[in-house]
């Protein structure tokens, strides 16, 4: 959480984890969480296939979002992207 916060607000320094709320997080970060959650989703059946489409769609959304920000078509706050 601290790391994600630092990524969203790079100039504000260290945060406590409790200060972060989901609605304050950047949509990109939320999508990254979504990807990781879908990949790590537990299932009692070891042969269960993961939700590939959810992960691919999340990746696609991130790409579109970043693309819109970088090309200036979005009104959202542009944060520093590594």
């Amino acid at each position: 959480m601290i790391l994600t916060e630092a990524l969203v607000y790079p100039n504000k320094g260290h945060y406590d984890a409790g200060d972060v709320h989901a609605d304050k997080l950047d949509p990109v970060i939320m999508l990254l969480y979504k990807i990781s959650a879908a990949a790590a989703k537990e299932n009692s059946n070891p042969l269960a296939k993961p939700e590939y489409d959810v992960i691919i769609d999340a990746f696609r959304e991130i790409i579109l979002l970043l693309d819109r920000r970088l090309t200036g078509k979005s009104d959202e706050i542009i944060f520093r992207i590594v």
Binding site: S36, A40, I56, V82
Partner: protein, 352 residues
């Protein structure tokens, strides 16, 4: 360019050798059919032409996109002609790499051997000594060091992936590099310095791995995301064939060429066909054992990974998705360096 089918090429090879053996005047007599087809006038020209065509067939990927012959057909096809295609500087621009393997494989039990050359992350040879079932007739693969040096000098990423039995069952897909292994049996030639039996392996030449790219080439975040999406697409395709990769970390995804373009999946050493009829859950869900994850920078750890108890298809995807986590957490070069130092087999105990 004329595209030859494997059956025709094998026919040419047989008829050609038949002429050489039975007729002493091979330089004068040429099979009229071959001469007509190939448009040559002398035996020397014919040999050159056949070599050229076979080399083209093997090395040109466009020939194998539409009709990919089976493993054994390729092996038969290349038996005669492969020794002539020794890896050389002139093969620098080709799509395939021919690698000679040593004649006498080492028979030894033990863990997976890892050799590094020049301490570069991509110049690593792996061979699995106790994986006898996978290494069917090649008990172990040992690459000769001078060929590795040649590969490195030619600017080719010499990452070697040993032959796995399961590779035969995987349908051809342009995103999965082909790996051909064979054994050449021929009489020892006095003028040649090559041994009588040559073990060889042909690999697709691929670009750098995604792991190296992300660590050392400073990619943008959006490009990392693009790579991540492609990795999942690739795994989805592989899993649709019920093939479990088993080691799908981002070091095993590489660019098809250079640092851009499509990704390919490498290293099928731990891959296996998952049989849906088998009740894996009865064994606690353990299909194979992985090393415990010791990466402290991971922010998402699920229970099954901490227990080293991996479910099948989820583990592939989970490991592939860790590319996002790396970008997420290790943002400065110092932490990347410390991470590298921690994992290095010889330098990890060195204090700063």
């Amino acid at each position: 360019m004329v595209c030859f089918s494997p059956s025709y090429l094998s026919y040419m090879r047989i008829s050609h050798s038949f002429f050489l053996v039975t007729v002493g005047l091979a330089s004068i007599l040429i099979d009229p059919m071959e001469r007509t087809l190939l448009g040559v006038n002398s035996q020397a020209e014919l040999e050159i032409e056949i070599d050229k065509r076979v080399t083209d067939t093997i090395l040109n990927p466009s020939h194998r996109v539409h009709s990919q012959p089976s493993w054994y057909k390729w092996s038969t096809l290349t038996q005669e002609y492969i020794p002539k295609c020794l890896i050389d500087e002139s093969y620098k621009g080709n799509e395939k790499v021919l690698v000679h393997l040593s004649e006498n494989p080492i028979h030894r039990a033990g863990p997976t051997g890892v050799f590094s050359i020049n301490e570069m992350p991509d110049t690593v040879i792996k061979y699995h000594l106790y994986c006898k079932s996978d290494l069917d007739y090649l008990d172990a693969i040992v690459l000769e060091s001078f060929f590795m040096e040649k590969l490195a000098r030619a600017g080719i990423c010499p990452r070697v992936h040993y032959y796995s039995d399961y590779m035969q069952r995987i349908p051809h897909h342009p995103l999965i590099p082909q790996l051909l292994v064979g054994k050449v049996k021929r009489r020892k030639c006095r003028r040649s310095h090559q041994p009588a039996n040559i073990r060889f392996m042909i690999m697709d030449k691929v670009g750098i791995s995604v792991g190296s790219w992300a660590r050392y080439h400073n990619p943008t975040f959006i490009n990392v995301m693009r790579a991540g999406a492609q990795m999942i697409v690739l795994l989805k395709k592989l899993h649709s064939w019920n093939v479990l990769h088993g080691d799908a970390h981002w070091g095993n995804f590489a660019f098809k060429s250079g640092k851009t373009g499509d990704l390919v999946l490498l290293d099928f050493g731990r891959s296996r066909i998952i049989n849906e009829a088998v009740d894996y859950a009865a064994n606690g869900g353990k299909i194979q054992r992985f090393c415990k994850n010791v990466d402290n920078l991971h922010i998402f750890n699920s229970k099954w990974e901490m227990k080293s108890c991996n479910p099948a298809f989820r583990d592939d995807v989970y490991r592939a998705v860790q590319i996002a986590q790396w970008q997420f957490t290790a943002l400065d070069s110092e932490s990347i360096y410390s991470q590298w130092l921690k994992r290095h087999p010889h330098k990890r105990n060195i204090k700063k």
